[in-house]
Symmetry: none
Subunit: 419 residues, 2 copies
């Protein structure tokens, strides 16, 4: 089974954005064992879109379009599809009613321009858009399929999950399954050395992907049934787990922050934060997890020295003596956050995210990360590479991993190992 | 003048990486006023590459290939080009010598597989690769041009700069320039209605791009000189500014948080934050701006009710009476943050980001955003659509815009209007 993607939009051709939607859909196709044969990126005009769809339908069984479903005059994907398959556009009154209702619910005025989003080829079935407004479209063309998806990334991602994944699973004749192990705290080169022999395997294939301060190892298996793919994956996953141990923090889509929140909830423990250079990023990551309030009490963004002293009781004497970016201040930030909030654990972060403010002894990228808890306080000194955002992200990543490893340690103290 | 890009590589189709090379080349084409008409992404095989080149040469004057120039068996771009233009491959002895020499200099052993990189169509001229090994290729096909560029991003970027930019400048008869106005606080549909006539214009073209709680309007002009493009853009920009006023918060790449920090610094004023549902995201956005410490003191992540009471002095009676997500609590969060930090302004955010926790009277997406400052406190009640992350982002976007508008208001009070 072959599929093609047609990404639509001048902003892609002008290089204003990268095509992260197409990347995501490519990944989903791979996961379902469907051959992503080709992708075209075309301008917002009916003729180009129509030509690209016609060509793709001549070669492949499934054709996806991404973008051009909004209400404006340059959103002409609907027209392009209709032209390619020789259909005409009608106004779908159900879509129109739903759009009006959605708008009313949000207290926004209706505008006739918006009615363009209710147009569809007569043979199309709308795909609900749970996040935005414009629906997607699904059109059977003989035994082939055209699926039109919206361009805004959050709407696109939601529609992949709510509808496209099931469509692909139903159409795919091959069973294929991937399992991604997420690893933190070991460099990629060490992982590659430890997994070198496994990475030679073809089915399942084993491939590492490097993220900032995180490596994902994907095991991908193809077979004629789900059972067989599972049987291919299981021994390889076991081998990787034996070699990498607790550096593997989750499998598949679970984020590091989500793992930390789950561990805290399971142990009925809580954490608080005191952030300087990360300015709230750690709190933001912890609270990105639904239900975080059971485990995360809150925290302090002590960006100024005054707030470090006043809110988390860092000694003014030490701020002057060691400077705001120091082991001593990091330690006191976490200790102060525990005292002020009553949390079981607290994390303190202070560093120089740049691009300015570095010195010879305290360069850009220097970050102290402290973890206070029942066993005392530890402080990790790090020098991160990267730009301001990457340095900040890396600091939160190390902080979350310190807490995760501490919680796992407590766990193995508290009960015998499961194996 | 039309150009097309053909990106080559299974890793692109499998969604393992985004095509940042193509984005970068797209940007360069736009800068030189060359119409990037279409892009194809194809697999590493000779037939697909050859077909894509033939199609592209049928439509456009310049065809770029990216990738597939390495030494391995799946690097077949050279074969694809030769097949498309009816040429044969020869070994270029100069390239081969240079490759051998490069390898010797790096202390690496020569391997006959590497000699594949010295192959080229007889009509091709090699483009030196200053960063890596495989040279690029430049082939005149009648009055058209095929340019083959390497895939590794650092080699690709170096070759764009060292060679491709000059080729484009020489071929382009046009200068082109774009200007992007960034807008917040007006829905896209209203912007489109107000700019409807301008959006009909072809040169400069005017096109809106919708982001979460933000719209970008791009003005793009082509002319025979830089002066002329500026002359085309200026009156259209003025017209848009007249119609949208202070809803335009910046031009080109400046973010909303950066505008807010700049305004605060210009007025030597400071802000603090008290966040509940956004959990630090507002602080994180403000501190993503280098030099934010002159304007942002810090803040509180009062995720639990206890911290709302203890850290920013929300009355426990009101927390019980109105609930944590209420106008009253939002107001007291901002007021408390001002009192506790001494900032000139403070922002409070409390809401229900979901996916759980919504009720009929307080649905998921309900967020109260408060701004306290010298003129008192205002509270905005919003019901945002989207998932948890989008609701949180939208809340921070409205918060930043409230502060921005307040700062602009102060500004026009303090001095006569510039016009």
């Amino acid at each position: 089974m072959r599929a093609e993607i047609i990404s639509i939009g001048k902003e892609l051709l002008l290089g204003e954005i990268v095509d992260s939607n197409a990347r995501q859909l490519g990944e989903l196709l791979a996961k379902h064992g469907i051959d992503h044969a080709r992708r075209a990126t075309v301008d917002d005009n009916t003729a180009d879109i129509s030509a690209a769809i016609t060509e793709a339908l001549g070669r492949s069984e499934i054709v996806f379009t991404i973008g051009g479903l909004g209400p404006t005059y340059d959103d002409v994907t609907r027209e392009g599809i209709a032209s390619a398959i020789g259909d005409t556009l009608i106004e779908d009154t159900d879509i129109a009613d739903a759009l009006r209702e959605k708008h009313a619910r949000r207290g926004r005025a209706w505008n006739e321009v918006l009615a363009r989003m209710a147009l569809r080829p007569t043979s199309a079935v709308p795909i609900p858009n749970e996040v935005g407004t414009a629906p997607g479209l699904r059109i059977e063309v003989g035994d082939k399929l055209v699926v039109a998806l919206p361009g805004p990334p959050s709407e696109f991602a939601a529609m992949l999950e709510s509808s496209v994944a099931a469509t692909l699973a139903a159409r795919s004749t091959q069973s294929s399954r991937s399992r991604t192990l997420r690893i933190v705290g070991i460099p990629e080169s060490v992982i590659e050395r430890r997994l070198e022999d496994l990475m030679q395997s073809v089915n399942p294939s084993v491939a590492p992907y490097v993220k900032p301060m995180e490596v994902h190892v994907r095991i991908l298996a193809h077979a004629s049934s789900a059972n067989e793919t599972n049987e291919l994956i299981a021994p390889v996953e076991l081998a990787i787990r034996e070699r990498l141990g607790i550096a593997i923090f989750s499998a598949d889509d679970e984020s590091l922050e989500s793992v930390v929140i789950s561990l805290l909830k399971r142990k009925s423990q809580t954490v608080a934060t005191a952030e300087s250079c990360t300015g709230g990023m750690l709190g933001q990551r912890l609270t990105s997890v639904p239900g975080a309030s059971d485990a995360y009490l809150g925290g302090y963004i002590t960006y100024s020295n005054e707030l470090k002293a006043r809110e988390v009781s860092v000694a003014r004497y030490d701020l002057a003596k060691y400077g705001a970016v120091s082991e001593e201040v990091a330690r006191q930030m976490a200790e102060g956050a525990i005292r002020h909030t009553g949390a079981d654990f607290a994390i303190g972060i202070t560093g120089i995210a740049g691009p300015d403010g570095g010195t010879e002894s305290k360069p850009v990228g220097l970050v102290y990360i402290s973890l206070a808890g029942p066993r005392g306080v530890e402080v990790s000194k790090q020098i991160f590479a990267g730009d301001r955002e990457l340095i900040r992200f890396r600091a939160t990543q190390v902080a979350l991993d310190m807490l995760r490893r501490e919680l796992l340690l407590n766990e193995s103290d508290a009960r015998p190992a499961e194996s």
